[in-house]
């Protein structure tokens, strides 16, 4: 079962076209990622607070299939995918839960484990690697 995250679209997510601004679909997905990491006991903020290894996003793709409006209830399903010993992808599906349920977007982000001091790719932190492979 992929991890899933629910919330309601709020006014600050939208723009004057009356719908969620396209860049905010990616921010919504990142919320789901942070919630998934919290759920796994791996809070994101510990990565950039504590240590030398960070896991920035190197690439994103998004297919915007349907508009989302203020008040819409959404569910985001999130599935990690191992790419190499130093990188992984997250595949997101944003569902608009107002009946009939429809896919509003598909988003993918690719993350690369990087040493700040060495400025080069390094193996994923072990707990994160475990979470990805369990995905």
């Amino acid at each position: 079962m992929p991890f899933s995250y629910e919330r309601t679209i709020r006014l600050s997510d939208t723009d004057a076209a009356g719908i969620v601004f396209f860049a905010n679909y990616l921010a919504l997905c990142h919320e789901a990622y942070e919630a998934a990491l919290d759920d796994a006991g791996l809070p994101l903020h510990e990565f950039f607070a504590d240590g030398d290894v960070i896991v920035p996003i190197a690439r994103s793709t998004a297919d915007y299939l349907r508009p989302l409006r203020c008040g819409d209830r959404i569910k985001i399903a999130l599935k990690p995918e191992a790419l190499s010993d130093n990188s992984f992808a997250l595949n997101y599906e944003i569902l608009r839960m107002t009946a009939p349920v429809k896919v509003a977007a598909r988003v993918r982000t690719e993350h690369v484990s990087t040493s700040r001091s060495k400025k080069e790719r390094v193996a994923l932190p072990p707990k994160l690697a475990t979470w990805v492979s369990a995905g």
Copy 2:
């Protein structure tokens, strides 16, 4: 009992100073307001979608008492206060729930019921007036 709204601070709420950007405290409070209206069966988006009467914010004040960080759990308590037949205030308290619980901010917004066609103040919509006076 005032309405309360909980959520977790996410990376997109914060800035490079490592804490929630001051303007985002107001956005967090507006989320709580929208959740309170949903809870009362008065979803905000129906105001600006449907009719002539809108209830924009005319004034805000905020006292920022403590920083909020990525991963912090917050609870926002919200209490409406009638000001006149065409205006009301919302008094918010943002609590940081990480023990020991502390007040992170106090925010107040003032809202004025306005007719788009007449460009003047008009009485609050009856359901909203009821919600305010029940506050």
Copy 3:
């Protein structure tokens, strides 16, 4: 010569990792698109204010090559590319202008001309088609 747009990275663009939040790279590119349309006498807000035809983003891809920090000066070059009579792409390059100049990201968005009333693809508005083909 592609259109170019310059500005400085501000605190609200960044997150607690100390750099521009990945979704905000897309928002920065959209600013450049709006500036390019203004420059061509085709302000974006006229599309969603006035008529039946809107041109939403159907797909985005972004390669994040280098971090951007508060205070960094950036230049975004933007080049339209015709895809069909009802769609076009925008190819963006975000340059970090602090010496030595480096490419910070490459972003691409795909836009589809859509009739709100018919809920189907329609030919691009003539002025927009001209702007794309001149790109």
Copy 4:
């Protein structure tokens, strides 16, 4: 002469009510503050990057007088005001430059110089104090 900062309202500043989201007026003012500090050779990011003294916002007030829409050209005038040896205020006026020019909002922020290590108020950094008193 107060410092002034101009820019155009972009889609991402607005919400589904068709106007700039109230919290974003504060973000716009903070952009003007950062531009003023850049102009004075005191870039903001040096405060939170380098040293022990930070100058967070302790209080904000905003009067929202007129809506701002996508495409509106705005000018923000900014005037510092000394409050004590460890605090100052910034008084902002946001003008909507589309003729006839009108004041869209008045915003005030209060800033307190704080030592991160001592967790108490300390005197403003000398260069910042000079900038405030020249205001």
